[in-house]
């Protein structure tokens, strides 16, 4: 196991730059998740770490060794691919032992490592089967087993659960989390699913257009996002954003007006100096609306999503890109087409610069 460090890592395809000077530190034993929308560069960054993509500029170290231009096999990494990439003509045992065989590891040692990995992944009964005779979940386990037997410094996962059905995905998510705990290995995991990121990660790296928007613990990113993009991307359903205008900044208390939530001025917790009349965005998560709170707002509800324990009320307004989403718990659930009065605590509201999207703290 080892820590990973990227310093100003750049990836260019000809004149097109897709990864822009990424700086990242992943601690030894961390489960780090790269998350972001399609085309944000998360898989490219993972492939750069694996050595499957040449790093155009910058430096990369694993366990203190400079691996920037090193062969993939010498970096001490193992990768689990989205498509599993199992060798179809080999049995499960052959798939798992192939890398060690190529590396001329003694047969007895190969057998020991493979059997141990099979035991951990509950694959013992399937060792003589070929991949086509396995289910999706079993194939995924074999792919993980193939990674485990090499005892790498860093495990790399490239959207490993995206080909599984919803139920199996949850199951495998738990399995991988358990495995991480059991092995104590450094793992880097790419996903576009922020639920996976939130549930599995010690550290989440949010990427957009080949740049890191923010990196930190799931709680940090959820509660204290650096910008509108991270605030909107982390959390499901997404955070509500409201256009607002700074009304006053007297005695260190900033008041903003949020027309969508009524006429009452909203006190927000910011220490940065704002100018009266400045346009800002105010963010409130759906669960920040509650039965009791210092402020109240009235919303026309056009859709109710009932998920059993919780419901989500959607309130659309002409000209708005996204509807306002309110989380509802308890017995009182409004009907579709009704008007809902909700309360919220203004201290939960986050403020962002209207132009740059940067958080105003």
């Amino acid at each position: 196991m080892a820590e990973l460090s990227l310093k100003q890592a750049v990836k260019k395809y000809g004149n097109v730059q897709v990864v822009h000077g990424v700086d990242l530190e992943v601690e030894d034993g961390d489960f780090c998740v790269f998350v972001g929308p399609s085309g944000c560069g998360k898989s490219t960054l993972l492939r750069m770490i694996a050595g499957l993509e040449e790093t155009s500029d910058g430096r990369m170290t694993i366990g203190g060794r400079d691996v920037t231009h090193m062969d993939p096999a010498k970096r001490g990494v193992s990768m689990v691919f989205q498509t599993y990439a199992l060798y179809p003509h080999m049995t499960v045992r052959e798939n798992m032992s192939f890398g060690l065989k190529i590396g001329k590891t003694p047969k007895a040692e190969i057998a020991k490592k493979v059997d141990e990995a099979a035991r951990i992944l509950k694959l013992t009964d399937y060792m003589d089967r070929k991949p086509k005779a396995l289910s999706g979940g079993q194939r995924q386990r074999v792919a993980i087993g193939r990674a485990i037997v090499r005892q790498p410094d860093v495990f790399l996962f490239d959207e490993p659960l995206s080909n599984l059905d919803a139920e199996l995905r949850v199951e495998m998510r738990v399995e991988i989390a358990k495995l991480h705990k059991q092995l104590g290995a450094t793992m880097i995991y790419v996903t576009h699913d922020q639920v996976e990121a939130m549930t599995m990660a010690d550290k989440i790296v949010v990427l957009r257009d080949g740049r890191i928007e923010q990196a930190g613990s799931p709680a940090k990113l959820y509660d204290d996002p650096d910008n509108l993009f991270v605030a909107g991307f982390i959390g499901s359903p997404r955070m509500n954003f409201f256009d607002a205008t700074v009304m006053s900044t007297d005695n260190g208390q900033t008041m903003v007006s949020v027309p969508r939530l009524g006429d009452a001025p909203l006190p927000v917790q910011v220490t940065q100096a704002l100018v009266r009349g400045q346009q800002v965005k105010v963010g409130l998560r759906p669960e920040h609306f509650a039965a009791d709170g210092a402020m109240q707002a009235s919303l026309d509800i056009d859709v109710i999503e009932n998920l059993g324990g919780v419901s989500y009320a959607y309130s659309s307004f002409e000209g708005e890109a996204h509807p306002v989403i309110v989380e509802l718990r308890g017995a009182a659930r409004p009907s579709k087409g009704g008007r809902l009065t909700v309360s919220f605590d203004p201290s939960a509201a986050l403020v962002f610069d209207d132009d740059s999207g940067v958080r105003i703290r």
Binding site: L52, A73, V77, A85, P88, R150
Partner: protein, 293 residues
């Protein structure tokens, strides 16, 4: 609800089911056409086998009629005068050698061509296409002259090299398209498993080529086994002649000897038919590989 169902059922039995009859008629028609086509294709084969069992008198009196009995004397005579075993072994040796060379060289040439998507690889593929499109007769003279100059005339090595060169473009085409469909992730996984390019080809790509190799081998086998011109031109030693040249011995300058020519033709085709029958399943699997996921 139940009353309506009864009425519907009763109505269905009042007249003929025209849909069923039309479907049945179409099916019979289609099968009839297919059978007729198969019959037309088999006709020369049937004629050849039929003629091989006729005596010279029967052939002279009724060339299109069935033989009165299965006369094996023609086969005995053909076998004793054509050097059958020797010529079959020659054909077999040459054909298998060509297949081995074409399969290995073709697969190894196709691997980089399938993976390198640059101008050079595209130009090479185009040159291969030209090789495929060039008629065999165009290359006969240059091959003869070159082989004469380097002393490869009348040698097994020469005929194998000539056939291998002629069939290589076909192999490269077969393999290039097949390898291009193999997911890159398999190679990347192998690279992470410490494989170099050769090991990736040998341990990962090559085993996956089995179905397409079976199909390619069949095509090459048929073409080489049945080829007449190149062995006729490049081989003169009677101990090195292929079975098709041996069959041609019964076509003289002034006439043919049908009592020997037809059994010889059957005997010449027999090994090929047997091999096809044995490997048929693998060959068909290769021919349809990639059609569905």
């Amino acid at each position: 609800m139940s009353l309506t169902e009864t009425q519907t059922t009763a109505r269905a039995h009042t007249g003929p089911d025209w849909d069923f009859i039309t479907r049945r008629a179409k099916s019979i028609l289609v099968h009839g056409i297919v059978l007729a086509l198969v019959g037309i294709m088999l006709l020369p084969l049937i004629y050849m086998v039929m003629m091989s069992f006729k005596t010279s008198t029967e052939i002279a009196q009724d060339p299109l009629g069935l033989p009165d009995s299965l006369y094996w004397g023609n086969y005995m005579a053909a076998l004793s005068s054509m050097g059958y075993v020797r010529s079959v072994l020659n054909s077999l040796g040459i054909t298998l050698s060509v297949i081995v060379v074409v399969v290995f060289a073709g697969a190894m040439a196709a691997y980089p061509l399938a993976r390198l998507q640059n101008r050079t690889s595209r130009v090479i593929v185009m040159i291969m296409a030209l090789g495929l499109a060039t008629p065999n007769f165009v290359t006969i003279t240059p091959i003869y002259v070159i082989f004469r100059d380097i002393g490869l005339l009348d040698s097994y090595l020469g005929i194998v090299l000539a056939f291998a060169a002629l069939k290589l473009p076909l192999a490269v085409f077969f393999y290039t398209s097949f390898i291009a469909a193999i997911p890159m992730e398999l190679e990347e996984a192998a690279r992470l498993d410490n494989c170099n390019n050769w090991q990736i080809f040998w341990h990962v790509i090559r085993p996956l080529l089995a179905p397409v190799t079976a199909t390619l081998s069949l095509f090459v086998m048929i073409m080489v086994w049945n080829d007449f011109i190149y062995p006729l031109l490049l081989l003169t030693d009677k101990d090195k002649l292929t079975v098709m040249i041996a069959v041609y011995k019964f076509v003289g300058n002034t006439g043919i000897d049908p009592t020997k020519l037809f059994p010889a033709a059957v005997l010449g085709s027999l090994p090929l038919l047997l091999m096809f029958a044995v490997f048929q399943r693998k060959i068909m699997a290769g021919a349809t590989a990639g059609a569905v996921k």
